[in-house]
Symmetry: C2
Subunit: 231 residues, 2 copies
């Protein structure tokens, strides 16, 4: 998102925007801590399977983990409509109203919290705008960040979009049901992720068939419980 | 890419950046017209198949159409290395050096032209950063914009990322070789594109198998010849 004609002036502008965002993200983080809610920020390219992954995830963790979702899209309420079927409260943010933002910023999350019953919530999932670049630059006050990468996107994306993979706490390698039909080097993909982010937990799964889903669910449950266990 | 804390101040900042970009894009456009070079800006999500599409396209149009490529990535020279095999001159831009920009701006294109022999060129292809949002906002002085959408990304992406589809002159629906393995409604995808951009030319193809490639090549050749035919 750093836009500038040439040189330092526009970089300063971007710094100011990010500084302002960090202040708002800090406020969100304090609120989430006070209310004892674990917040997960899920990011990816468009069409890598965030929504299907969340549908299947919510089915498996609710009602044990009381969950809600904030869904970011530029336009449409397609994803919110799908996720609402899980029974979880869903808030749709359309950044079209804010000029078509390419990411969710901390102040947008703060607005989306209005009317949300945080006291009766363990987990708030934010499904970010489909974009492998800009959302990684914006802290929203979350506890944990996860990136979803579809195997159809190729093995080299972590090297080409390193900030996203550096900033996230885990990677979901999705759509492994399509592996028999792709020229895809699974080991190369994993190695590329680990080169960018040594030790990163990687879950190879298919949101469609739910193959490989259990380790991801266990990891997420443990993360949530480590914060809100005593609620 | 429009970033703001709240309200109008940051919108003004973004407007200024876009105004400055438009001026530089105008300079590029006049240069391309003077040198009689047709410029194609190719955009898409990460991993939708831009590079493979270009590899196969260059093989089919060269040497009849003398072509060069400017490749934008945040990091790595993977795509430039692949495209250089075509024999076309390739310039790699790594926006990492500019702070990790999420798009190619007009001034970056202007710098990449340095040393390029425009007089002996019919077609300059710009492979933009993999991002379905921000690149659509930045004019680089091109004659034509094309968006590549992989069928693995789902049918609803044109509705969710409308600016990209509105701004582009044609859409390539790529990876149709995977259709037998996907729950994909081809008609719904095409209808969604046409709702966002009535009359948009759509080429359903596979860059891997080259199925459906001919109509796209013919369309591109005609576009180029309509500008540089008399060169």
């Amino acid at each position: 998102m750093s836009n500038r004609k040439s040189g330092t002036q526009e970089i300063k502008v971007v710094r100011r925007v990010l500084d302002a965002n960090d202040i708002m993200a800090g406020q969100n983080r304090r609120l989430f801590k006070k209310r004892n809610v674990f917040v997960l920020n899920m990011m990816s390219s468009p069409g890598s399977g965030k929504t299907t992954t969340l549908e299947k995830t919510l089915t498996r963790i609710m009602p044990e983990i009381r969950s809600a979702v904030i869904v970011g899209d530029i336009c449409t309420t397609n994803d919110a409509d799908r996720l609402a079927c899980s029974g979880a409260p869903v808030v749709q943010i359309n950044t079209d109203e804010f000029g078509g933002d390419c990411h969710l910023a901390a102040h947008v999350i703060e607005k989306a919290l209005d009317g949300m019953d945080l006291d009766n919530l363990d987990l708030l999932i934010v499904e970010n705008i489909g974009n492998l670049v800009c959302p990684a630059e914006f802290d929203i006050g979350e506890d944990c960040r996860v990136v979803v990468l579809s195997v159809t996107e190729g093995e080299d994306k972590p090297a080409k979009y390193p900030l996203m993979f550096r900033e996230c706490d885990a990677a979901l390698l999705n759509k492994i049901d399509l592996l028999p039909y792709l020229d895809y080097d699974r080991r190369a993909a994993v190695n590329t992720i680990l080169q960018v982010h040594p030790g990163m937990p990687i879950f190879e799964l298919s949101a469609k068939t739910e193959e490989g889903f259990e380790p991801w669910i266990e990891w997420l449950k443990n993360k949530v419980k480590s914060k809100v266990g005593a609620k």
